[in-house]
Symmetry: C2
Subunit: 275 residues, 2 copies
Amino acid sequence: MISGTTKLIAHLGFPTHAFKAPLIYNPYFDKHGIDAVVVPMGCGAENYPDFLKLLFRLSNIHGALITMPHKITTMALLDEVSKSARVAGACNAVRLGADGRLIGDMFDGEGFVRGVLRRGREVRGRRAMMTGAGGVGSAIAASLAEAGLAELSLFDAHAPMMEGLADRLRRNYPDLSVITGSVDPSGYDIVVNATPLGMNESDPLPLDVARISTDAFVGEVVMKQEITPFLAAVRARGCEFQVGIDMLFEQIPAYLEFFDLPTTTADELRAVASI
Amino acid sequence: MISGTTKLIAHLGFPTHAFKAPLIYNPYFDKHGIDAVVVPMGCGAENYPDFLKLLFRLSNIHGALITMPHKITTMALLDEVSKSARVAGACNAVRLGADGRLIGDMFDGEGFVRGVLRRGREVRGRRAMMTGAGGVGSAIAASLAEAGLAELSLFDAHAPMMEGLADRLRRNYPDLSVITGSVDPSGYDIVVNATPLGMNESDPLPLDVARISTDAFVGEVVMKQEITPFLAAVRARGCEFQVGIDMLFEQIPAYLEFFDLPTTTADELRAVASI
């Protein structure tokens, strides 16, 4: 029940019609009597910097979930950002710190990593291969690095994007070995599709599934359908995998901790969600 | 259930903790499956003009309820305001018109008048006495005039405020006879306390209840308690009356019509409200 004491969490992006977060957070808040609400606000890029600033001057603002097209531009609008956000070059969460400071973090990658760990798979000391060095790929790479990954083989058809991410990783995680330019998954413990390939029916597979080790763990970021063509091939090969939407549910506990709200498990969120 | 398609109605004011509107509108929207939500936003005066402008550029914004301390300043920020708002000199509702135009109206007075009419009392051709020519008094005077009142005897200890309202009424409603300077209710059909007297325990009564005709209808704007000391005296005298909160419930159907949402009665709103 929204009242004048309810903590307001804005969900900022455009367009809003496919927003899923309100359908997950709000039933969870309701169930546990947590006096907070996630409210979609469809803000265009041209108004976003000014709107974000004023939004965080509201007396009942508690935080913001940031989504397309604002994840990158948000970085320049904050007083403090986490290392993960810096490496990702993007931010999907903002909260108010002391003295009105705006603090940002990035949980897309954290959601991915929590999903891997929750299945009993290791990240620390392991080797991963990822294709796609855009926003979500950068976030996943940053979180894998933060979790102690030993080696990342990174590919993106857009070389400057690939090399830019590799540089940021090397600067921030000197212990991580970063290799670029190969899309061959053979021998890697973790294999990730972080490209949008799979959004359209005519898309090719993002990499050669036949070369993935059968004991590798495979991740997918495309959420258009639960089992994308890539995951169908991965399943046929017998690999363990997580679907795109897992990353969404797994990152919510991290958001709740960031917002200093009572947290829970991805499983409970899945159970209460209205999606 | 809030989603990315939900029509956002901002409730703008400061502070927010005593806001009642979300506790009335949202249960009503829920009950009827109306895809809209009222969300409190505690905006300070210094940020309000910029925030209002940007808020109405959100893709999912539908309207705003305006409360203290913004009702007067809103007037200068809109493209179009109703006659009632102009006479009241204040605005408590904003919606988006064609081409992004901001349209304002004022329903505090409309709520008062609807309450009078719903009890089978007449306004057209009748005579009213009102003390208090501030924001809410101005709104009630404007709506009584709009409803065809014949004569208004207006009092306010602050003479420029009293004369200012009298002037606005005479300019906009030339058929209404406006008298100023007397706080004597004798012989009037409708008697209204539109002063804040009654907010504090030590307040004197706003006028001499013993001089109200026993067949007059009496209205109160103070909402701090249902039966204020003034209304207790009015009840003891045997007059019919409406309490402050009636004005709140009675104006919501007018707001719903303004926002082009399915409307209802004050009674249904009272039944579903969580206050």
